[in-house]
Amino acid sequence: MEELHSVPAWKETLVTRIIQICGYSSILFVILILYFLLSEGLPALWKADLNSLFSTRWYPTESYFGIWPLIFGSLFVTLGAGLVSVPLGIGTAVYISEVAPSWTKEILKPLVELLAGLPSVVLGFLGIQVLVPFMRRFFDLPTGLTALSGAILLGMISIPTMVSVAEDALNTVPKSYREASMALGATRWQTIWGVTLPAAKSGVITAVLLGMGRAMGETMAVMMVTGNAPVMPQGLQTIILPIRTMTATIASEMGEVAAGSVHYSVLFLIGIILFIISLVVNVVAFTLTSRKTTRSERLLS
């Protein structure tokens, strides 16, 4: 009977400890992942010849381990995706937050979130069936499996991330800013462009960075539509040529590679490079806005 009156001290400690373990576990996981990546990937630096590693020919089954085409391939497609998603994503966010009447907003927001939940393999499938043939006919290209198709699909994939973060940022701009601007005689467009967007600048940049990070890490859709030819990008015409990204390389080759071989280590090295790039993107996004961390972190996970 006495136990009902007061919670025993040991129970209190136990619960605290359990919660503590939960909290620390995610730190532990990140450290373990990092350790695993490094221990599997760094040996590539001495197992594979450095000259081979930093050459431009990727043909791992014949011991050509040039990773430049893959790195540039990823960067190229991601930048292309940015060109598609930044205007569309920020435009959508501005429309939802500033222009749309409330009933449109009610429809648009869930739709954007639905887009975010669409598995990328489904988008990839649509890409193969619809986008790729269309691109080939419309631009009269040798093939529609190009960096451009990949960039468009990745743009679509990163738009929802961008819209929700940017829209949140715009919503935090105090109403009084807009009222003040209107009172000074500015039009709605002048208010959006001159007042609201600059006020939400850091949040909008975070949105762009997170969207691009999402595009960089995307695998399945990109593997299905970019043609995966490890060609070194050369100038702007590369956009209408096939390209191979780092993520697609890891995904398609890891399954068949012998554990511990040079090829295996090089694939992990590519993983390290991807990890570093996404780390940099996230750190930059984080430092830009420490106020907006909760929302952005939720989206990161």
């Binding site: 043909y59 089954t61 080939r136 093939t143 043609g227 995966n228 040529l241 191979r244 398609s252 068949e256």
Partner: protein, 296 residues
Amino acid sequence: MKPAAFILLATALVLGACAPVSQTVDKAEKESSAYIQNKGSDTMVNLALLWAEAYQKENPDVRISVTGGGSGTGITALMTNTVDIANASRAIKPEEIAEAKKQGFEPVQFVVARDAIGVIVHPSNPVDHLTLKQVSDIYQGKINNWSEVGGEDRPIVRLSRESNSGTHVYFLETVIRMGNSKSKDLFSESTLLLPSSEGIIAEVHDNPNAIGYDGLGYITKDVKLLAMAKTEGSEYVLPSVETVNQNRYPISRDLYMYTHGQPAGALKTYLDWILKPEAQQIVADSGFVPVYVPGK
């Protein structure tokens, strides 16, 4: 003290007598519930797994384990008698037979399936036959326009499976390097590497510029198969179950299983089953060519 010592001695004797008996029982059990180990060719590993699954479903008392590792690995394991069946996508080499004879056994060969690669183009492409050399030059990037091989003035878009698929490796060795094992020729780097057979068929079906290849069993009616000739003077042969089984189509090979001497018991029953129509249907379903001709 004396009775205690006697009991100890008696127990020891009984145990000693029992041990061999229980061993023979174990062996007898093993015979009735056979365990077949099957190792080798990565090209064949999926096929071998499908066979093993189908066979174990019908014969629950037989257990079959399948591992890959490559044809050479399988044959080496057969030498050391650690597996019952070695899968190989190439014929056993004379030096391997000599090595086996030194170990005191004769490897027995079974042709269990055939592997043929069809070269495919868009149905509207006027090109309907090529030589191995032409296909090799196309994939190396030496021929870049269909007009160079008798087609329309269109750029050639080369499609391939990913570099670690067995089909890719076989195509590289047989077509691009034309069987020359010293050759260092490679796929042109502008070759599109697609992750699946479906991706290749879809793109060839849609794109009049494309050329692709795949295991014969994966090729659908949506694309056009090319007749192939080994050299310029020889006959152009369209791939089919018949021409492959007659050894007339140039991009085909036999897939083998090797056993440690003549198989017996459960092992023999399993190998006999593999050559039956139901097992050969699995061959056709996995993209290979069955060794038995339907309806004959």
